[in-house]
Amino acid sequence: MVQVEGLTKLYGEFVAVNELSFAVQPGEVMGLVGPNGAGKTTTLRCLSGIIPPTRGTVRVGGHDIVRDAIAAKQQLAFFTDEPRLFDYLTVWQHLNFVARIYQVPDYERTGRELLEELEIANKRDALPGELSRGMKQKLAIACGLLHSPKVIYFDEPLTGLDPLGIRRMKDSILKRARDGAAIIISSHLLHLVQEICSRLLILKNGRKIIDGTLDEVTRKFSEQPGDANLEEIFFRATSEPGPGAPAGPPPLPH
């Protein structure tokens, strides 16, 4: 569903993403993790057509995101870490607007269901300024899911959500995956990634460190079977040992 080959993004001489290749199939949830500045957000922006890649190709549902942008974008939804809303449109007007952009004829029924599911149906006529951070997040999600995207990207999806919202969001992601969507989640919350992702891609300095199923990644970075959780794996994969220094995470304070 998502195929990335040799994706490279340069800013001047700075290499933000370097020769990245991977694929995500329908029904898969891929976790995109890496330290700050690893190139996760840049990668997601290239994958969603927000910024053009310097080199390489990105295909969404078989459509090239640069050459056949309209068809590719019709199939995807991108949820940014901060909900980005039009501050003079009400909740319902947002859905109406998105429905026209993505040509969703039965948006009224779908929109009502989404608002009910996300528990913001009573805020239908509210402006974003009247909503809490979590509610804005929910509205952005409702807008993104209105056209039933086949490919969904999440950038830190749990930011600002309460515990119930987090539970619902996880369930919602898994439900979309079961329905056949290909999902990529960029997050620093490794327990979230471990809980819901079937694949993992670790980035560092714009380069792919490893890409595979959770089991494959665990096997590669474990000295013995079952001796490491994802946090350990992350530190092992991303640490840069200096001369004479042991590899591994910084010690926890006692």
Partner: protein, 579 residues
């Protein structure tokens, strides 16, 4: 304790200044600073001190016979400002602190009085810059720069203390159960009674103005001088006159003579503020949060986030789920227009234009209300072209901070561009066509002989205006996509001379592009007009020529929309954010 606060203030100011200078390493700020500096020099600074080759643009140094009138005029303005400070505000006293200041200072062992001192100290910085600008400006009309500077400082500092004191008094009144409405009613009633008293006295004591006097500015000024400098107004404006007297002092001895009463007023205000025992902390915390939210909104590019009490607006038309997708952007921006244009703003514009029309009419000739309306229509039309595209920013200039969202839409660049700029075009054209209709209707009320020609001109204008508006809106939108970090879209809003310079450069650039775009259309207009004028007459030649020019402009606008779309497609959000 105050030493720590002075330290904070000093280093904040110093670091801000250093970062401003460091910013000049970037060419866009350096060029802006040079142009802005030249502008300030030629427009203000060379008038500040004599001997630099600059002469005052007009010598309005106060002559002794007019000194009282100037003083009274200034005193009256101060009186109105103070009166409004007692009528308009409605909130409880809140010293505005940043969130960081609230976080550090409020839990710290800092007394309320020290906080007030800190606030006063900080406001001095703002006052200093205001004094500098005001002195630049007032010095252009003659007088001594130092006297002007100190005069402005005394006035602004005393007013600053008065605003603070009145906010404390307002809070005390609220605490004693006197509501804002009752306070406003009482102050407004008192002001009306005072104005009524002055009016009654003037009517009974002074000789009435004849029709000849109302047309004679000198007679009117003389009458105003007598009203303000004798009778009750003399006592009413006494303390305000004391405040403005140092500013109007013709020389140093006169200035020092006028100084002691103002310093006394200043001291009394200071004591009033310092000894007011009013709790402002809670309201200050709330105010700081609002301030932080506004700053965050503006930095995020959401200028409308500054507006409080934003209301949901109904869409102008029902948007169906199918059809051209770009219509959704047009529909969205039309809703946004409702947020920008309130009824209050509409009434204000109308009042200003009518007053302007009356003022112009008085200088031309008097032929009744129709002429006034005709002037109003003409002025409004010109202003709609000049200011309309600047005021109606519901396009890329507003949505650029959300460019990453727009870029995820399955639309081509030109569709997004067209959808973005269509709303301001439609609003402007509707307004202008309405004005043209009013203008055409006036032809039947005015003693105009060439109705057909005037109607032809109106028809020609009706053809031209939509494409002209489109073109006028395309230019700033293209500029914002080409040079997003030059045109302030709200992501960051640096201020200073360099920003003024940048704006000047852009204004000139936009004008140049517009002139270049208009040249082919003007050539088409002239060609068709001369071709038809001799055979069919101007009544046909004007609209036909306008139609030809419209077609040229429409072709240019069409190309412009395609170009704007390409620019948007190439616009790299991340590069702009990281640059």
């Amino acid at each position: 304790m105050i030493a720590a606060l002075i330290y904070l203030q000093y280093h904040s100011f110093r670091n801000r200044l250093v970062s401003r200078f460091k910013r000049l390493q970037q060419p866009k700020y350096l060029i802006g600073a040079v142009v802005g500096g030249l502008y300030f020099y030629f427009y203000f600074f060379r008038y500040l001190f004599r001997g630099f080759g600059g002469r005052p643009m007009a010598n309005l140094a106060v002559s002794p016979e007019h000194l009282q009138l100037f003083e009274s005029g200034g005193a009256l303005i101060l009186f109105v400002i103070v009166l409004l400070a007692w009528i308009i505000p409605h909130e409880r006293a809140a010293l505005t602190f940043t969130e960081a200041e609230v976080a550090f200072l409020f839990p710290a062992p800092v007394s309320r009085r020290t906080l007030i001192h800190f606030k006063l100290l900080r406001s001095q910085l703002r006052i200093f810059f205001s004094v500098l600008l005001l002195t630049f400006f007032s010095r252009r009309f003659g007088g001594n720069a130092w006297i002007h500077g100190f005069g402005w400082w005394l006035m602004l500092s005393t007013l600053n203390l008065h605003f603070l004191g009145s906010s404390f008094a307002r809070t005390m009144l609220l605490d004693h159960g006197i509501s804002n409405r009752l306070r406003r009613l009482l102050v407004f009633g008192l002001a009306l009674a005072l104005a009524g008293g002055v009016w009654m006295w003037a009517k009974q004591t002074l000789p009435a103005l004849g029709p000849a006097d109302t047309a004679n500015p000198a007679a009117m000024l003389d009458y105003a001088q007598r009203v303000l400098t004798t009778g009750p107004a003399l006592y009413l404006l006494f303390s305000f006159r004391l405040m403005v007297r140092p500013f109007f002092a013709p020389d140093a001895p006169a200035f020092f003579d006028a100084l002691p009463p103002v310093l006394l007023l200043f001291l009394l205000h200071y004591l009033w503020v310092i000894y007011s025992d009013v709790a402002f902390e809670e309201a200050s915390v709330e105010a700081s949060q609002k301030l932080a939210a506004r700053v965050a909104a503006v930095r995020a590019g959401n200028w409308r986030g500054m507006k409080e009490n934003q209301k949901a607006r109904r869409p102008w038309f029902k948007l169906t789920a199918t059809g051209p997708a770009a219509t959704a952007l047009f529909w969205k921006n039309l809703i946004g227009v409702g947020q920008v244009f309130s009824v209050r703003l509409g009434i204000t514009i109308l009042v200003v234009l009518v007053i302007f029309g009356f003022a112009l009419n008085g200088q031309v000739h008097r032929q009744g209300i129709s002429i006034v309306v005709a002037f109003f229509v003409a002025i409004a039309l010109v202003y709609s072209l000049l200011l309309g595209p600047q005021v109606l920013r519901l396009d890329f200039r507003n949505d650029l901070p959300l460019a990453d969202i727009l870029k995820t839409f399955p639309l081509r660049g030109w569709q997004i561009a067209l959808g973005e700029i269509l709303a301001p075009v439609v609003v402007l054209v509707a307004f202008q066509w309405l004005l043209l209709l009013v203008g055409a209707g006036l032809l039947f009320c005015l003693p105009v002989k060439q109705e057909a020609l005037f109607l032809a001109i109106a028809l020609g204008a009706a053809f031209l205006l939509p494409v002209l508006d489109l073109l006028l809106l395309l230019i700033p939108n293209a500029a914002v996509l080409l040079f997003p970090s030059w045109i302030q879209t709200g992501r960051d809003s640096p201020r200073g001379i360099e920003t003024t310079g940048q704006r000047l450069i852009f204004a000139l650039g936009q004008m140049l592009v517009l002139v270049l775009a208009l040249l082919p259309a003007a050539a088409a207009f002239v060609g068709v007009f001369f071709l038809l004028n001799f055979t069919l007459g101007p009544a046909v030649a004007v609209p036909a020529a306008a139609l030809a020019a419209t077609m040229v402009l429409a072709a240019e606008a069409g190309l412009g929309v395609m170009l704007l779309g390409k620019l948007f497609e190439r616009f790299d959000v991340t590069e702009e954010q990281t640059s």
